[in-house]
Each structure stands twice: as C-alpha cells, then as structure tokens.
Symmetry: D3
Subunit: 143 residues, 6 copies
C-alpha cells in the first residue's frame, strides 16, 4: 500500500494499522471527533511505544473529560499555551495545528494577535533578562 511522503519516515497508514496501533488510531478519531488520523500520529506509530506514550500524555492533559479528569483551564487557554510554546520553538506543524484548534475554540484573529504579541514580547524580555544575567528580585509566594 502506497503512502505520500510526509516526513523522514514512512507513516503507518490507517489501513495498515493493527493491534495496539489500530486501537489508538480509533481512540484518536473518537476523542478528537475527527474522521482521519493526523500525520503526527501516523508518524509516531512507526514505533508503537512512542505512539502510546505521547497519546496517553496528550489525551490526559488536553482531553481531560475523556479520562474523567477536571481541568483548571478551559480548552481555549490550553490551546493558547500550545501556541505560545510552538511559536517560541518555531515548530511549523505545531503552529498550523494549534492555530486551527485555537480558532475552532473561539479565538478570533484579533485575539490571536494578542497571544502572538505577548508571546513575542516575552521572547524579547527573556533574552534581555538572560542577556544581562539579572538576579530575581521576587520569589513567588508559597501557599
């Protein structure tokens, strides 16, 4: 079965998935309510332990309701964190994916501009605080 080249490895097509991988593919489609398995997961599936590790972590943190957990953060805020991290690291796949998810969760393009502007701002201040080796003047309050 042929597959379009999308990465440095040949991804595992949905039609070729068996056992644990097929199970996780089904869980991804059900949990995310989508009708295909994104490239990211099909590439991780080239090593099933990797697929399971990453999916278990992401499901627990980003889909808490699916594991019976209550999150202190709403879905939009969780995607905002994903975006801020991905912009800082410059990860193209992740930026595309999490921008789409954030917009789907109601962030409009002006609010996206605030997220980006603030993420950009702190990349600037981080370089400055590190660049001068400034000592903390504040310790977070301990409860």
């Amino acid at each position: 079965m042929s597959s379009q080249r999308i990465a440095t490895v040949q991804p595992v097509d949905e039609g070729d998935a068996t056992g644990k991988v097929a199970e996780i593919y089904a869980d991804i489609r059900a949990t995310k309510q989508i009708d295909f398995v994104p490239n990211f997961w099909r590439v991780l599936a080239t090593n099933p332990a990797q697929l399971e590790t990453v999916w278990t972590s992401l499901k627990r943190l980003m889909h808490p309701e699916a594991v019976g957990r209550t999150s202190a953060l709403d879905p939009q805020t969780r995607e905002i964190i994903a975006l801020a991290v991905s912009a800082t690291n410059g990860c193209a796949y992740c930026i595309n994916s999490h921008t789409a998810a954030a917009l789907k969760h109601g962030l409009d393009r002006s609010a996206l501009g605030e997220v980006m502007a603030i993420a950009g701002l702190f990349n600037m201040t981080n370089a400055l605080a590190d660049g001068y080796q400034i000592e903390p003047d504040v310790k977070p309050p301990l409860e």
Copy 2:
C-alpha cells in the same frame, strides 16, 4: 550611592534616575502598583532608549487599561502565556517574576501544574514534529 551587584552591568538606582528614566520609573511604580522598581527595569535603564522601548511595549500589551485599550485576554491568561514562554526558554528571572504574578492573579499551585504540564507536553511534541519533519495536514481556517 552604592548598589548591590545584580547583573553584568551596574543598574541605575532609583535615587540616581533623572529625566526620562525617572519618569519611566514613576510610571512603572504607578502602573504596576508597586513601591520599588524591579531589577529588570533598573538594568535596562543603563540605556534609556532600551528602557523606553521595552516598557512602552510591555505597558501596552500587559497593562492595556493603562493605555485605554481593551484586551481580548484576561490578566491571568496573559501571565500564563508569559510563563509558558519563559519555561520554554528557561529564563530564571522571568519564571520567578511571572510565577509570582500568575499566583497573584489567582492561579493556584495545582492550576500552575497544568500550565507547566501543558507547556512541557508541547515542548515534547514540537521536538517530535520537527524531529520527523512532519508536513502540516491542516491549514488554519481563514475567516
């Protein structure tokens, strides 16, 4: 007037500030409602244009009410972005400062754990998506 060594340069003490620097120091204390000027700003003041550039940006984005602007994000969410970026970059000064600010804005230590866990998660997925050079399968929807 002596000053403790806190950086690679000698910071400008509040008592030594004059002109534009003194004005900005006063604005920092008033806008942030604190009674001292943090190390970060006293170090930037070694070059007044730098102090003005960074303070103008931070004031506009993090204290929108002070410039008559309405932000689409609440103060806690803005500090969450600051924390996610600072954790990704590993900036000690910034992490201390923004953890304190986030707690002050009502994030408790369990919610802080969610912010960190999610920031950590996406540092992992960013390395994976980049490490395999995975092609985006989604384009953010254009309005």
Copy 3:
C-alpha cells in the same frame, strides 16, 4: 479584495488598511524607503495594537535617525545582530530578510561567512558551557 495566503492568518492588504493601520503602513514605506509593505507587517496588522507595538520598537531601535536618536552602532552592525539572533533561532523569514538587509548595507558574502561562522561557533560553545554547567571565572568590569 483577494490576497495570497502567506501565513496562518489572512494578512491585511494595503488597499484594505484604514485608520491607524494605514498610517503605520505609510510610515513603514517612508522609513524603510520601500514601495510595498512586507508580509511581516501586513500579518501583524490583523491586530492593530500588535502592529503598533512592534513597529514602534523596531523603528526606534533600527531606524534611530527617524526618531531623532543617535545610535552607538552603525546600520550594518545592527543587521549583523539581527542575523546572528535569527540564525540561532532558525527563523526562515527573518534570515531571508536580514541577510538581504545586511548585504544591502555593504556586507559581502565572504563577510557574511564570518558572521555565520562566529554565530555557529558560539552556539557550539554555549552548548558546551551549559552542558558542563561551568561556573563563570570572570565578572564583567563595572564602570
């Protein structure tokens, strides 16, 4: 009015700009002496506060003469810093833009090689000094 897709958001075309955005677009063209508004600024314009914050900072630091300021660094050196940072972060847009600007300011391709070689070298030594957690043996002299 249609616009080519160039980012995760739809940029604001010059013909669609009004008010504050149109003003800043005009200032960008005049200050940079170019006859179009680069993609970067047209994307930032999706949130006018973001456009204003970033343009104000960049204008003050990279076009000091336009704000009546004197810089201690010449334009080529400023572009060299931009390049070294952008190479370290691997930002494609920025590398293209600042390589072009540095060449325009008189850096030839052999000198560009020195900038890159030195930026590369210190990315190596940074990883080594951090990787061994080496303690500083020198404190910068305080004036």
Copy 4:
C-alpha cells in the same frame, strides 16, 4: 593537587596538564594574553580531542591575526555576535565572558544596551514570524 569543583566534571588544573593539553594551555595564555587558563578550557581538557577541536575553531575565528588570517570584522563586532548568540541561548558562562570581552574592546554600557535591545527585539520578531508561519517576501540578492 586539589581543584575547586566548577562543573559536572573535575577540570584539568594547569599544574596537571601534560603533552597536547599543556601545549594548548600555553597557546591559550599567549593568544589571549592572560595569565591563567579559564574554566571553560580546563573543563574541555577532560577530553583532549574536544579541547583541540574547540580551541582550533575559536582561535581561527576570534584571533585571526594569530593564524595569519585577515578578518572582515573588527574584534568588537565579533564579540557583539558572541553576546547576541549567548543572550539568545541564555548561557550564563558565555554572557559573563563575552560581556567582559566586549567592554574590554571598547563597548560602553550604553552601547551594550543597544546590543541587548536589538538582540531582544529580534527574539521577539523571530517568535512572531515563526508563530504566524509568514512566507519570505524577499530573497537576498545573489552576487
């Protein structure tokens, strides 16, 4: 012979250096015109091939006159690149060392502020250009 712990490994003291390591130590003192071997080099010496690789590279690029080479960049500009990279990466040892070197080469603390402000600025714009996945609108001119 005892040695203060300064890193994750025990550095090679000057009195303990023999053969290739002793030779390179002497070259470092002579080339840099200093009377001690900095921690960085004494730590790298725990693997002589590593010491030789890094010293050979740094000597060629940062002390071109010592290898009969002409550099297109002056010593202060070379240290500015080192600083901009080290601030971006947040490397404490390197920031201390290169701030001291830049000041020694005539950069004063106000000019240092410009280097930092510009390095900070482009860490911001890098995050923005990456965070929106903006396409280059310019290709550097080829000679």
Copy 5:
C-alpha cells in the same frame, strides 16, 4: 512538616504524600532503586495529573524492563540522548541529573567529553544550516 525551598512552588514531601502521589513515589523509588524521591518528582506532585503523566512517560521510555518492554537502545545510549538534549537546552537540573546517570551507566569523563563535543558541534552546524537556509540534498531512505 517543613520543607526546604527548592523551586517556585512548595514541593510535596514524602511524608505528606497520600493516595496516587504516595503510590507513584513508591514506584519511583522502586523503579529507580533509590531511597529518596528527587526534587523533580516532588515538585511535579503539586499537580497529581502532571506527576502521573510525566512519570508514566519516563518510566515507559527510560525503564522499559519495568513495563515489560524491550528497548532497541541500551541504558547508556538513552542517557546520552538525555544529556545531548539537556546541554542543547541548557537545563541545569537535567544536566546534573543525567550526567550522574550516564557516569553511573559506565560513561567515563573522556567519553562524556565526546558526547559534549559532538552535541556542541551539531549546535554549531544547526545554526549554520539554518542561518543560510540550506535546502536538504538528501532524503532519508524509506524502507
């Protein structure tokens, strides 16, 4: 029960751990064959879901025998990867911890020098390849 301040939050002491956290603490001590719970895990425990997510991932990947899995990599190679990543990111806690673990798994300080030298080298070539925006000339062979 009092606890030394070791982070931006108050860690959960072993004596204070109950339920899921106490279970994971016991699993960490047993799996790693150590008689205390490292700071890292006691800090993550401030949010039990975070502790569980990270420990489950790390246990599966770094202690495969404990979950009945066979790894294609030996323990020393796994620690070498941890070190190379931590040196690249400049994470102090992680560098200390993984240097100790790598030495425990038989890497001596000369071999550690090779790991560091190679990690340093590729931080240099990464900056160069990115800094020039070089196009890949090779595609990894697909099986």
Copy 6:
C-alpha cells in the same frame, strides 16, 4: 557556470572550486565516501576559513579514524547525538541529513522512534525543571 538556488547565498560549485576549497571538497568526498559535495559544504565555501573551521571540527569528531583517533562512541551513537540535537533545534537540513546517516549506520525506523521519543521526553522534562526552577538534588560523581 550556473547553480540552482539552495540557500541565501550562491554556493561554490565543485567545478568552480580552486586552492584550499578544492582540497577540502576532495577530502569531504574521500572521507565520507560520496561522489558529490553536499549543499552544506558548498555554502560554507563562500568563506574558505569558515569551510576549513567547520570541516576540521566535524572530521575530527565524526570521522575519528580519518585523523588516526580512537573514539569512545560508535558511529551510530554519534549520529544519534546529532539527531537528538537537530530535533531539539528543529533544523530541517540537519534532521534530513542525520536521519539518513543514522539509518545507513543500521538504526531501523522503530529504533529511530525510540531516539525521537526520548529526545521528545527530555525536551518536556527540561521545560518542567526550568519552568519550576528546580534545584539539583544530585551532583555528578567526580572520579
């Protein structure tokens, strides 16, 4: 002689190389046992000192047998380090090149999955340890 555009600068074609550059090109082909000079080296050749610095370092560390040196690490492990660093930095050229090299040295796609999963894991734990500013609880043993 024309050359396809592959970078921000015009690379030096093999047919145009003379003197030191031609010598190094020949050494690259011989040492790596390939019949062409990769883009990376043809771009570095735009500044011969840069080409020599980087090639000398890479040859010594990655082709130790070619300089009569014995390495404590086997070739596959050396490529694994290259991959872990390149995935962390998100360098496309380097990821392609080192994935190909690692596969050539016998790493199969499942083992590649372990390398990536572990590199990803430690990018997560690095962000967490830094994000909480956790103090080291372990010092690497000194021999």
